[in-house]
């Protein structure tokens, strides 16, 4: 057998930013019973060579309106350090996984995100109630 010079990284068990954010996205969807849907997408940055990992809230009752909570700007060749951009436009350096988890926790439990959740949940509920009303109530004969 040929000796392999490769060192294949264990990416299956690694908790990458994408994986961590997907867990939080799923938790949001589950806790709101699908009224709000967490979405994680990864794109090549439009103006840099970094990857952009985005966590967004999608609201099915509002024609899938999306609100972006955060973007992790991740270098292609390494996972950390990267830069976390939050919905208010602030940027912070993320040196390692623990810092990433702490930062995500702080963002998702912040007043700003709480206000966003209240606003979107109430609007989603109102839109659903309007859709579920009998047709007579909407003025149809």
């Amino acid at each position: 057998m040929v000796e392999s010079f490769w060192t294949i990284p264990d990416v299956i068990s690694a908790r990458t930013p994408v994986r961590i954010l997907r867990e939080q996205a799923a938790a949001l969807t589950e806790q709101t019973k699908g009224a709000l849907v967490g979405v994680v997408e990864t794109d090549r940055g439009q103006f840099s060579v970094n990857l952009e990992v985005k966590l967004e809230i999608s609201v099915p009752a509002l024609n899938d309106y999306r609100f972006r909570l955060l973007t992790y700007h991740q270098p292609v060749e390494i996972i950390y350090p990267g830069t976390l951009e939050t919905a208010d436009g602030n940027l912070r350096e993320i040196p390692d996984e623990n810092s990433f988890i702490s930062a995500i926790k702080a963002v998702l439990s912040s007043e700003l995100v709480k206000n966003v959740l209240i606003s979107l949940l109430s609007q989603a509920t109102a839109a659903r109630q309007l859709t579920n009303q009998p047709r007579l109530a909407l003025g149809y004969a």
């Binding site: 509002l62 899938d64 609100f67 919905a87 606003s119």
Partner: protein, 277 residues
């Protein structure tokens, strides 16, 4: 991020190309000029090409020269004004500050001399100020085919749009001329002129036989009230010059392009103040 795209498609209806651009730039509000295709067919083509679960729908057309499509749910966008050449939309997004979107397709230089064009812009300014007063905010963005370059008097004059080249100037107190105060617009299209600028040299190409010919014109523009500058990043103003691999302009030969005008796309981070949702 709220993304607006305006495109004078020059009567070359191509919902697929429009939808591809909507997909690429994640467009929320699409504004089209010189488009006469039936709404149902056009919306279907755009939605298929855009390929998103967020479907576009058309606001009432009202026989206007500007058509508006959006993927915001009904209730968040409404037509505030429409005089045939100018359509104003009030956007109150689920999260973020409200916007007054002024989409214009002003008369062509072929049919209107400079006096008529100036008069039309003065009327536009009055109509904008009336709507701003009624709505209690000045979060106004003008986007459209103005059929004027940004350096022409109609756009720079105090009683025109008073569009200036520099953000710092735009945020100064209104300028007083003959005892009347005139507020500004910031015109970022000054930074999109010529071959050393980001993107193409202009938005409309015409190689005429007149003594004065600019070749590249920037008739398709975006102007912002100073109150929107905190939500504007110059990287988020784009003039696309191709759809996929296809150049948009035909550059006067063959008619193989998708239009004689380039689109303009601008994204504003108006959701950064969630308290206004």
């Amino acid at each position: 991020m709220t993304v607006l795209m305006f495109w004078n498609i020059g009567r070359r209806e191509n919902g697929t190309a429009i939808g591809q651009l909507c997909r690429k730039y994640d467009v929320d509000i699409l504004l089209l000029a010189e488009s006469a295709m039936a709404s149902t067919s056009l919306v279907t083509e755009i939605n298929v090409a855009a390929g998103s679960s967020r479907t576009y729908w058309e606001l009432p057309h009202l026989g206007s020269r500007v058509r508006a499509f959006t993927r915001y749910a009904p209730g968040f966008v409404e037509t505030a004004f429409d005089d045939g050449h100018v359509k104003m939309l009030e956007l109150r997004p689920p999260i973020g500050v409200p916007l007054l979107i002024v989409a214009a397709h002003l008369p062509s230089k072929l049919w209107a001399d400079s006096q008529k064009q100036s008069y039309r812009v003065r009327r536009l300014r009055q109509d904008i100020e009336t709507q701003e007063a009624q709505r209690g905010h000045k979060n106004t963005v003008v986007i459209g085919d103005l059929n004027l370059n940004q350096f022409e008097d109609a756009l720079t004059a105090a009683d025109g749009l008073h569009g200036v080249i520099d953000k710092t100037v735009a945020t100064r107190p209104p300028r007083t001329v003959d005892g009347q105060a005139w507020g500004y617009f910031y015109n970022p299209m000054w930074s999109r002129m010529g071959d050393d600028s980001v993107g193409p040299s202009g938005t409309y190409w015409r190689a005429g036989s007149d003594l004065v010919t600019h070749f590249w014109n920037t008739f398709d523009q975006v102007l912002l009230r100073p109150s929107l500058l905190p939500y504007y990043d110059p990287r988020n103003l784009v003039v696309p010059d191709r759809v996929g691999e296809s150049p948009i302009l035909h550059m006067g030969g063959g008619g193989t392009g998708l239009s004689d005008h380039l689109p303009v796309v601008v994204a504003l981070s108006i959701e950064r103040e969630p308290g206004h949702g």
